[in-house]
């Protein structure tokens, strides 16, 4: 079920209404059943995969608490193998098999192992990581094992964040299922506002930009360098709005019912460097990798070379997490490289800034830092979005030549995209630099607030991509 669908609107109203009507002791059951329904709308039988990992992790958690030493480790390993195994089969099997075929072909061998004709279960990467964080935290002694099977299942399957995060931690989420949440006007209205803003980002900005980006990225050789640059910048905003919009809706929906989920995006394109970018972008994933992989590898409490290796490897794996394609691996590697380079070049860059006098002008300095960080992020996005390495290199080659006219396609669609980005940036700019100043959605005057809500709804109705009927008619 998509968040930007009428089906979800009915579902949300019904579930939330029942949630507040039901006594506290039955609420977990309502949420679990509705989360099952939410998940089964996609491919019903895949819920069995989810329950397979839930059962293994539930018992792993209990035994992790009971046992000590080597025995304890066995249960952790069993849980990790089950979760990573499911991920490996459904997400990476065909990728690995295809690469094996290519490798064997180089030596004139054929690969007899067949490919699997399976669809990736929705949200697999997200709920797998969320489940793994539970068993790891129980193993570390930071979290008590959950003995209530239903509550544990709900922790993994909680519908607002089941499909696209935020990837929660058991310390943050589990106890909330035991708390009684009353209907509070301020909290409910704040949650609804977040959902509305998330819908704007997704429907008006992300889905609109996708039309242009798809037209260019699906035919890279047909488009000019300038079009490729514009499409890449558009994609940077598309992926931000798509992902953060979904997170806003998830966080808002949970907040309405009284649940606090972690912030997942914090205006990442205002970052001054790549390290800051990764503290603002997909925060739940980057902190997951930090806490469970980076620190386990030694973090920065090792020699310099090992530290750089740790950073690089974490981003490499992060790239692979995003998708089973070498383009994602390169995207991850690029980000790892950016970070390592930033560390290595910290002193020379500071010196250079002093030399050219820019460090004496903080606003200008910040502007350049934001610009350069955005440029680096966009360059990496080329690989993230391109269908193949060849396509990515074709686009980079086109950009390098800066040739040809700008492809506009449908001028209206192009204009809507620009209007959407302008509204988004105005709001984010105000939140970033003028936090204490006048707000529209949180204005003390209710008529200003109501007009703002109505304006957003009307913008969604008039400018949003409400179906797949929007397209750019591409003629030769």
């Amino acid at each position: 079920m998509l968040f930007n669908s009428i089906h979800f609107a009915f579902f949300f109203i019904l579930v939330t209404g029942l949630y507040f009507i039901l006594p506290q002791k039955y609420r977990w059951a309502l949420l679990l059943l509705s989360s099952c329904y939410f998940y089964m709308i996609f491919i019903p039988v895949y819920i069995l995969i989810l329950f397979f990992t839930i059962i293994i992790d539930y018992f792993a958690g209990i035994y992790l608490e009971r046992f000590q030493g080597k025995n304890k480790k066995v249960f952790l390993i069993a849980s990790l193998i089950a979760n990573i195994g499911v991920l490996a089969v459904f997400k990476y099997y065909n990728f690995l098999n295809d690469n094996l075929t290519s490798l064997l072909h180089q030596f004139n061998y054929t690969n007899e192992i067949p490919s699997l004709a399976i669809i990736l279960p929705i949200g697999l990467s997200f709920h797998t990581f969320q489940a793994m964080s539970y068993t790891i935290e129980v193993y570390r002694g930071n979290q008590k094992a959950e003995h209530h099977f239903g509550i544990y299942a709900l922790y993994v399957m909680f519908y607002p964040q089941l499909v696209a995060g935020p990837i929660e931690r058991p310390q943050n989420l589990l106890h909330q299922f035991y708390e009684k949440h009353e209907f509070e006007y301020d909290r409910v209205s704040q949650g609804l506002k977040e959902m509305l803003w998330g819908l704007f980002k997704k429907i008006v900005v992300a889905d609109r930009l996708a039309i242009y980006v798809d037209a260019v990225y699906n035919n890279p050789a047909e488009h000019s360098g300038i079009s490729a640059i514009v499409a890449t910048i558009f994609f940077a905003f598309q992926i931000y709005c798509d992902f953060s919009g979904y997170s806003d809706i998830a966080i808002g929906a949970a907040r309405v019912m009284g649940f606090k989920l972690m912030t997942n995006f914090n205006r990442p394109y205002f970052s001054r460097n790549i390290a800051e970018f990764w503290k603002r972008w997909h925060i739940s994933l980057s902190t997951w990798f930090r806490d469970y992989l980076y620190i386990s590898l030694g973090g920065n409490r090792v020699g310099k070379n090992r530290w750089y290796f740790n950073l690089f490897i974490v981003f490499l794996i992060s790239g692979l997490w995003h998708g089973a394609n070498w383009t994602f691996v390169i995207w991850g590697a690029l980000n790892g490289f950016y970070l390592v380079f930033a560390i290595l070049s910290d002193k020379p860059r500071t010196y250079l800034a002093q030399l050219i006098g820019i460090s004496a002008r903080p606003r200008l300095h910040r502007f350049f830092q934001i610009g350069i960080t955005f440029f680096l992020a966009c360059f990496a996005w080329i690989f993230f979005r391109a269908a193949s390495l060849d396509d990515a290199l074709t686009l980079i080659n086109q950009m390098a030549h800066l040739n040809g006219p700008l492809y506009i396609g449908d001028p209206s669609a192009f204009l809507y995209a620009l209007v959407g980005i302008a509204i988004l940036m105005m709001v984010d700019f105000k939140k970033e630099f003028y936090r204490g100043s006048l707000s529209f959605m949180n204005n003390p005057n209710r008529w200003v607030r109501y007009t703002c809500y109505a304006a957003l709804v009307l913008i969604i109705l008039s400018m949003g991509v409400l179906d797949g009927g929007q397209f750019i008619y591409f003629q030769f």
């Binding site: 006007y185 209206s412 204009l415 209710r446 109501y450 109505a454 709804v457 009307l458 991509v465 009927g469």
Partner: protein, 314 residues
């Protein structure tokens, strides 16, 4: 705040917000509707002319191929009929028959030509019928088509703004003379002037007789053919040329031919005509004839019409 108080405050605020939304929607929707139907040129203007205003003797229906392939000068000079081309870029049989049904519910044209493509009855979404949303209120013939888009379509149409989704800038521009020259057409016909200079395409993925056809599209076509027959409106179904080589017969065209035969409707298939594959200079791209190619093709269609005059009398 007590729970009941919180609920009261929430529902009161919600009602007020919904009221503001309703008033804003009504105001903006009314303005958009007014200016939508006042457009002076462009894609939407042609659609409005087709659905609501035209009373031409000869009507061409179809996709972007129909807007490029049937020259009005050729047909008007020979048949001494007024002409309007209702074709539209990016649309298919559902749009064409929806427009056709709207037209025949208004008046009885002397002749209709429906251009169909290879793969016309292929399974696909109905989302592009969103272009017909502005006509939902006034044209009952369009409603079953729009309701194909989804079970919540009627609910969405409670909004006055929704039918004009993504039309704001088009309405703004086409109500002025800004760039009007670029939007001009000749009775709906939009000529192309470039020449194709790449090798012929080989079509490998046409629908075979084993591939399932969309029953909705097939039914829409069948209904339109039978409507024309029962209203005694002469209809010709044409598959116009491609600059491509088909390796297998297309099941959409086979199905269309079969339906036409059963309804004694003339069906002419130029899609695999060898002569056109010898002349890339007649095409702008593999799917669209240019102005020169359209002249040649239009004359061939005319010859076919003349040869089968008896078939056109119901």
């Amino acid at each position: 705040m007590k729970k009941n108080q919180a609920y009261r405050l929430f529902f009161r605020s919600l009602l007020l917000v919904l009221l503001v939304v309703f008033l804003g929607d009504l105001t903006l929707g009314t303005l958009l509707r007014h200016f939508y139907f006042k457009q002076r040129s462009g894609d939407n203007y042609r659609m409005i002319q087709a659905v609501k205003h035209t009373s031409a003797d000869l009507l061409i229906l179809g996709s972007s191929r129909s807007t490029r392939h049937y020259r009005p000068d050729v047909f008007c000079d020979s048949l001494h009929m007024s002409y309007y081309n209702t074709g539209k870029d990016g649309q298919d049989i559902l749009y064409a028959t929806a427009v056709g049904q709207c037209i025949v519910s208004r008046y009885r044209p002397k002749l209709m030509i429906l251009d169909i493509r290879r793969g016309e009855f292929r399974n696909g979404s109905y989302d592009r019928l969103s272009k017909l949303l502005p006509f939902y209120r006034d044209c009952p013939a369009v409603r079953p088509y729009i309701e194909l888009r989804g079970p919540y379509e009627k609910l969405k149409l409670l909004s006055a703004v929704y039918p004009f989704n993504s039309e704001f800038f088009a309405i703004l521009v086409t109500n002025t003379s800004f760039n009007e020259e670029k939007r001009k057409d000749d009775r709906g016909y939009l000529p192309l002037h470039k020449e194709w200079n790449k090798p012929i395409r080989v079509e490998k993925n046409l629908l075979t007789t084993d591939d399932p056809l969309d029953p909705v599209r097939v039914e829409a076509f069948r209904n339109f053919v039978t409507s024309c027959r029962s209203l005694r409106i002469p209809l010709i179904v044409v598959a116009s040329p491609y600059y491509s080589l088909a390796l297998n017969p297309d099941s959409s065209l086979i199905t269309a031919a079969d339906i036409c035969r059963k309804n004694q409707t003339l069906f002419i298939d130029f899609s695999s005509e060898e002569e056109y594959r010898q002349h890339p200079e007649w095409f702008q791209d593999v799917q669209h004839l240019n102005h020169t190619g359209a002249f040649i093709f239009s004359n061939e269609v005319l010859s076919a019409v003349r040869k089968n005059k008896s078939m056109l009398k119901h």
